[in-house]
């Protein structure tokens, strides 16, 4: 299985000379199974460049959304495969008790927010509620679980040939915890993360920033490192960088995080364009 980071920024696309290395595009990760199955994790602005890279290949694309906040769906309208009639696109999103996925996505993909309506896209679209538990996408198996973030939000673990990648871009497992980390069975996200080969996880804040944003649904870098340690992951990729954090600032923060002591996993600063073999 191979993963490529097409967008690593959180909350808001942040293009500029100060974000060139880590990237300014919002959440999007391409996952290729060993059998060629293509999964796209989230449709942030990073999905535009992925669409261009795909060209006319890939007759079937599977887009798994963690949730429907704008920074995770904003790239939809700029994903060229959606405008090709011969492509089958499956979109999976967390279930809601009130509106189906089509209705919720149409709020964005319709005027006045966007000129093209979801129903007018020429590709063959199929929308699905994510089954909580597990399901298969092509030759890949996907585990999904609700995680702590405002509104229904899921984390995914994708399995292929005994290896796994876990993707939880927006996650606040420390919310309300009187101490963190604590017991694994009382920790959000643990079930889809334990023992994973590659964890791509929210590291939006520093600890002082987190203190000012409790309940916003994101993690401080220190929390994510503690979570990765608890879950015994093999590699941790930092993700969902705060729009205000420049390349230099991120270098400094991650260097500081890595210097707190030996880590039982490899800490990898998540940068746009990075590729991983899993």
């Amino acid at each position: 299985m191979k993963a490529t980071l097409w967008g690593t920024r959180g909350s808001l696309a942040s293009a500029g000379p100060e974000t060139v290395r880590y990237g300014g595009n919002t959440s999007c990760v391409e996952v290729r199974g060993s059998d060629g199955t293509l999964i796209v994790l989230d449709a942030g602005t990073g999905i535009r460049r992925l669409g261009a890279a795909l060209g006319a290949e890939a007759p079937q694309i599977n887009i798994l959304l963690t949730h429907l906040h704008m920074d995770h769906i904003q790239g939809f309208g700029f994903f060229p495969p959606l405008y090709r009639p011969n492509i089958e696109v499956h979109i999976w999103g967390p279930p809601s008790l009130t509106h189906d996925l089509r209705t919720r996505l149409t709020r964005y993909l319709s005027p006045p927010l966007f000129p093209v309506r979801l129903r007018d896209l020429p590709s063959r679209l199929a929308l699905h509620d994510v089954p909580l538990g597990g399901f298969d996408v092509g030759g890949l198996h996907v585990d999904s679980a609700l995680v702590t973030h405002p509104g229904p939000t899921v984390g995914y673990r994708i399995r292929d040939n005994g290896r796994s990648l876990t993707y939880i871009p927006d996650h606040e497992p420390a919310l309300g915890a009187t101490r963190f980390p604590w017991r694994s069975d009382w920790t959000s996200g643990y079930a889809v993360s334990h023992g994973t080969d590659l964890l791509i996880h929210d590291t939006q804040y520093t600890m002082p920033e987190y203190a000012e944003h409790v309940g916003w649904g994101h993690s401080a870098i220190d929390h994510t490192i503690a979570f990765a340690r608890l879950a015994r992951v093999r590699r941790l990729v930092t993700f969902h960088h705060d729009p205000s954090h420049s390349d230099a600032e991120l270098d400094r923060l991650l260097e500081k995080a890595a210097s707190t002591g030996p880590l039982p996993f490899e800490l990898i600063p998540g940068m746009e364009g990075m590729q991983f073999e899993i």
Partner: protein
């Protein structure tokens, strides 16, 4: 189970911050948690009592009606909320693990998560003797 459902984790975290006595069980009725205000009514810190099956907690606190007639588990609001998937309320008398009998109001409701999953139930107690 590797991990509790996230709604149950958040329920416990909320309960741990509230000043009302709260008791949380899983879909089988097993006690998962009660908070510090509930410890005062139940007569033992949760860390000492620990998780326990319904068959145990349903009799451990010797629940009875207001005339001191013992109540079977199915007469308890928490068990009703779980089995009937609807809120339940009753005034009962319990004897804490410290041996003290207290008259309490119990308001229980099921915890139903996304997709209609029954995740357990929660009871809020109100100590009538101290008011």
């Amino acid at each position: 189970m590797l991990q509790q459902e996230v709604e149950v984790i958040l329920m416990r975290q909320l309960a741990s911050y509230l000043a009302m006595p709260i008791f949380v069980v899983d879909p089988s009725g097993n006690l998962l948690f009660y908070n510090e205000p509930a410890e005062a009514l139940l007569g033992r810190p949760f860390d000492e009592a620990g998780e326990m099956p319904m068959a145990e907690w349903a009799i451990a606190f010797s629940p009875s009606d207001e005339e001191d007639r013992p109540l079977p588990p199915e007469a308890l609001p928490l068990v009703n909320a779980l089995r009937r998937r609807r809120p339940a309320h009753r005034t009962i008398r319990i004897t804490g693990l410290d041996g003290i009998s207290r008259r309490i109001e119990t308001m229980a409701f099921p915890l139903v998560g996304q997709g209609g999953r029954l995740l357990g139930a929660t009871a809020i107690f109100w100590d009538l003797d101290s008011r």
